[in-house]
Symmetry: C2
Subunit: 195 residues, 2 copies
């Protein structure tokens, strides 16, 4: 998605060789016009996949998920980070390792909001090693629901998450794939490449 | 807002005399159509107030803030709960007491995203004692920005937050005000009453 790539190039900050900060438009300050366009792109990619619900994880996936859900006309469920919220005890849970923070956390969803007949689109702002996606997939699997696919804002193509998910036959659509960002120079995977 | 009041009456769960759970449509599962209507109502209430930015706090305010911001065509900034995020060190911070969880937490916003010339609309899902709003007001005040007003999904009218804010002359618009919920019976403040 050219609009997103241009924005990353213009305003993204590379720290070291593998951290990309985009908190001026995607996950602290939110450019809602851009995020709405991203939601529309996800709708175009997954509109024929029978999506009944969108699943994300708090906090930075929520805006993208909500603006995507408007196009689909389906609800969002956001997984909560366990331990600090009154979400009840009747939960699906999964462990998620954070690449950025180097910590493990537990995420959870109330059993009331994921059902066997749901066809679920996972939406998240970033994909790196795939840990958040795999934790969300476990929640979906525990509920007996079906995964429609995964929509990602920015994929770090130099980390293995996206390749592993695609190798499993999962439909993954990343709106921008960063191939490398050595020395602060951001290179995107070409639009011609297989996504 | 009748649509919201009806939804609370139909699906809200009262716990004790003062906890109202609406996690089936507002803060765990999200009814994006309803939340979009709420955003439109905030736009109608604040469209002439010169709003340049919407400020909320993670996680449950984000969807409402993002869908509201679409109508205004302005960015959202969401305050983060400190300690677990790489938001940098150049921060505005405030302490916030949680009524629901009985704990104090620190919220923060990068100084890059609140400016002296900003006119800020605070959006949040709930207003009870006003602690989250007051913490967000401190961030705005520290930045030297101006407060346009406060838009709230559900106000607990039997707790003092809303009355205190209005007594200070702040424009507060709550889309549903719960007057009482004794014995699980939810009574809304009448539409005729002063809001």
């Amino acid at each position: 998605m050219k609009l997103l790539e241009e924005r990353i190039r213009r305003e993204g900050t590379v720290i070291g060789d593998d951290v990309l900060k985009v908190d001026m438009f995607l996950n602290h300050q939110l450019d809602v016009g851009l995020i709405d366009e991203m939601g529309k792109a996800f709708y175009e990619a997954f509109q024929t996949d029978g999506v009944t619900k969108i699943l994300t994880v708090e906090a930075s996936g929520i805006a993208l998920a909500a603006l995507t859900a408007r196009y689909f006309g389906v609800p969002v469920v956001f997984a909560k980070k366990a331990g600090h919220r009154n979400v009840g005890t009747d939960l699906y849970t999964a462990t998620c390792h954070s690449f950025t923070h180097g910590t493990d956390s537990t995420i959870c969803v109330s059993r009331r909001y994921l059902h066997e007949d749901d066809v679920i689109l996972i939406i998240d702002d970033f994909l790196a090693d795939g840990n958040a996606c795999n934790a969300l997939r476990k929640l979906i699997s525990d509920a007996g629901a079906k995964l429609a696919g995964i929509g990602i804002g920015i994929e770090k193509g130099f980390q293995p998450g996206g390749a592993k998910l695609r190798a499993e036959g999962i439909k993954v659509r990343s709106l921008a794939i960063v191939e490398s960002m050595k020395n602060g120079n951001i290179v995107f995977r070409s639009d011609d490449a297989e996504r």
